[in-house]
Amino acid sequence: MVIYTPSRAGEPPEPVFREHHRGTTAKELSLSHLSVEVGHFYMEDLENGEEPILAQFERLRPWLEAAKASAASGRSKPRVSTCYLIDDYFQSWPDAPEIMEKLLRLSRRAGVTIDYVARESACARRKDGFPVAELLATRLLEEPEPDQDTGARPPAITSGWLSNGRPAREATVLNTMEAHTWEAPLEYGKRNHSIYVDVELWRDDAEPGADREDVLSRRQYSCPFLAAVWQLVRLGLLRKDGVPALEVTDFDGEWKAEWSQFPDIIKVNPNAMPFYAYESLSIMPQNFLPIETAVRTIVDHFLYEQDVVAKLDGRAQQENIAMPAIVSERMSHHFLPGGK
């Protein structure tokens, strides 16, 4: 064995040549303090009578006002924008212009201004064909098994499921007389007792052995998965080449006949505050609670880009706003009482 122990000699002056090309640099965004999602309807609810739609907007209006009043804004005047996500991924009905007209008219009548409208389908695949959902799919990290993961396990999720622990299972049977030994599920990060959650992210319909493009074109993402994309886009955290994975387009005054012709995010209120925000709030009926639990589970496994978060947090700091380190703590929900 040989040991080399260098000692410090006279150090040379500063370097005279520098070259280092950063592949991707996070873009600075215009940011609101809070992005509020105002309500949510399934497409079939939007097709039916106007009364329930108006009622939901009326019920959420006071909570929207409260959110505006309580947004963390440091030394600045609060900047709050509102948005609405259209459920066009699982059901897509042909009368897009009528639905948009109805939605915006009823929200206005209830005193709720919608600033931005986005499509759930765009959270899967953008209008330009780019598979946005895969940005999230490739940025999820499964939880390591206790005392098992030494750094060699590939980080990719291949099953289409994501959990916070280990499912219940039949224990190893050593004695045939005890065939029904059961082992309880386990939440890896539990405090005393477990709440085991297992979320379906997507379902693949392609034949085994199909190429990746084919697999992706036939992959059906779950509602919580697309909602997680939506939350991360609003928070400015999901990026492609340093810019937000979904970008905002101004409304050109005319609604296209097909949902698929809509831009990914449309700015319908010309005076709106910025779409992206430090924090997000979603106000929706309480039947969406299980979905949003799944959304938070997904977001808790999201690998953010350190450069992106450093830029967002740096900006927040300039405004004297302390950002929570945990991404899901930047999101909050208010669930409206009663049915939808």
């Binding site: 064995m1 040989v2 080399y4 122990t5 260098p6 000692s7 410090r8 000699a9 150090e11 040379p12 500063e14 370097p15 040549f17 070259e19 280092h20 090309h21 592949g23 991707t24 309580s70 947004a71 963390a72 804004s73 440091g74 895969e134 490739t138 940025r139 990290l141 499964e142 939880e143 390591p144 098994e145 206790p146 005392d147 098992q148 993961d149 030494t150 750094g151 060699a152 396990r153 590939p154 980080p155 916070n164 890896y188 990060g189 990026r239 492609k240 080449d241 808790d300 496994h301 999201f302 690998l303 953010y304 880009e305 350190q306 706003i321 302390a322 380190a325 945990i326 991404v327 703590e329």
Partner: protein, 321 residues
């Protein structure tokens, strides 16, 4: 309205790393553009790159979940939970490295926390039992095998394997080489000057141990990657020379491949961070890696000359007869 976090961020006291180095399995070096495509290992993020004096492409960081034990000299093995980070580095279009690292935070928590806690500080693993930084450094560098012990060499090897299926490579490298591992460990102390040493073990593994302030850590890690690459180059060239002495007929082919793949690439100071130059100079004074490289390369070239002269003489002799 303002809000503040309850506790200030902790600084890791120990950082552990492993660099695996090997030849990218392709017949000719990858051009810069192809290398930048192949090393874009995270969709939506491009690879970093440099062109002068030697082309180098660095992938974005990948993260690996950890819940395992650390090897220590004495006492019980501390359990760590969190994530390791690893990147692929391709130098001169042909030399591939998987560089893995984990920042170990001691005394932060006593149980495994919800996963979101670790995802808010990626690249960090928290030890939930008591341990002394010096013990962790020594234990890690000893590299004892163990079922549930941290294995960053495997993390680096996994990152290298991600390039095996890249469409840019033809899987037809002509030079036989083996993958090598270098281990490094840094004790982070903000009130000290950079100081450390390199140890060449009986197993052929270089081990680098350093006390460093945290801001010099990226430079130190880069130096370890440079040392790993040049140690690997030296071993690869010496092995090719040794094989050529044993193989007789195919000697020329061995030497040919070694010269065309390795002959031009020795340049340890090419991307050496400024703050590490004095350390490298001192290391060269003692270990003389560059001298050994030049000597080996001269022997290879001499042998090629001799073989060529012999071949010419044999041809001439045949003509005379």
């Amino acid at each position: 309205m303002t809000r503040s976090d309850a506790s200030p961020p902790h600084q890791p006291q120990v950082v552990l790393g492993a660099v695996t180095t090997g030849l990218l399995n392709t017949s000719e070096p990858l051009p810069l553009d192809a290398a930048r495509q192949a090393l874009a290992l995270v969709p939506g993020v491009r690879a970093d790159w440099r062109q002068y004096p030697v082309e180098q492409v660095v992938s974005p960081d990948l993260y690996f979940g950890l819940d395992c034990r650390l090897s220590v000299g004495s006492g019980s093995q501390p359990r760590i939970i969190g994530t390791a980070r690893a990147r692929a580095v391709l130098t001169a279009g042909h030399f591939l490295q998987g560089s893995a690292r984990v920042d170990v935070l001691l005394g932060a928590s006593k149980r495994r926390m919800p996963w979101s806690h670790y995802m808010a500080r990626t690249g960090v693993a928290e030890a939930i039992n008591k341990a002394h930084p010096a013990d962790i450094v020594t234990g890690f560098l000893q590299d004892r095998p163990g079922k549930s012990l941290l294995d960053l060499g495997n993390t680096g090897a996994h990152v290298m394997s991600l390039l095996e299926e890249a469409p840019q490579i033809d899987k037809q490298a002509r030079l036989k080489t083996q993958t090598h591992k270098l281990l490094w460990a840094a004790h982070i102390q903000d009130d000290v000057e950079l100081d450390g040493h390199v140890e060449a073990g009986d197993d052929g593994v270089f081990r680098v141990q350093m006390s460093t302030p945290s801001e010099l850590l990226p430079d130190f890690m880069e130096m370890c990657e440079i040392l790993a690459l040049h140690h690997w180059l030296l071993v690869a060239l010496k092995n090719a020379f040794d094989r050529s002495s044993r193989t007789g007929l195919s000697a020329e082919r061995e030497l040919d491949a070694a010269l065309s793949y390795l002959g031009h690439v020795w340049n340890p100071k090419a991307h050496l961070p400024h703050a590490m130059r004095w350390f490298w100079d001192a290391l060269e004074d003692a270990a003389q890696l560059s001298w050994e490289w030049q000597t080996t390369l001269t022997r290879v070239r001499d042998k090629v000359s001799l073989l060529t002269r012999k071949a010419i003489e044999e041809t001439l002799l045949k003509e005379v007869l």
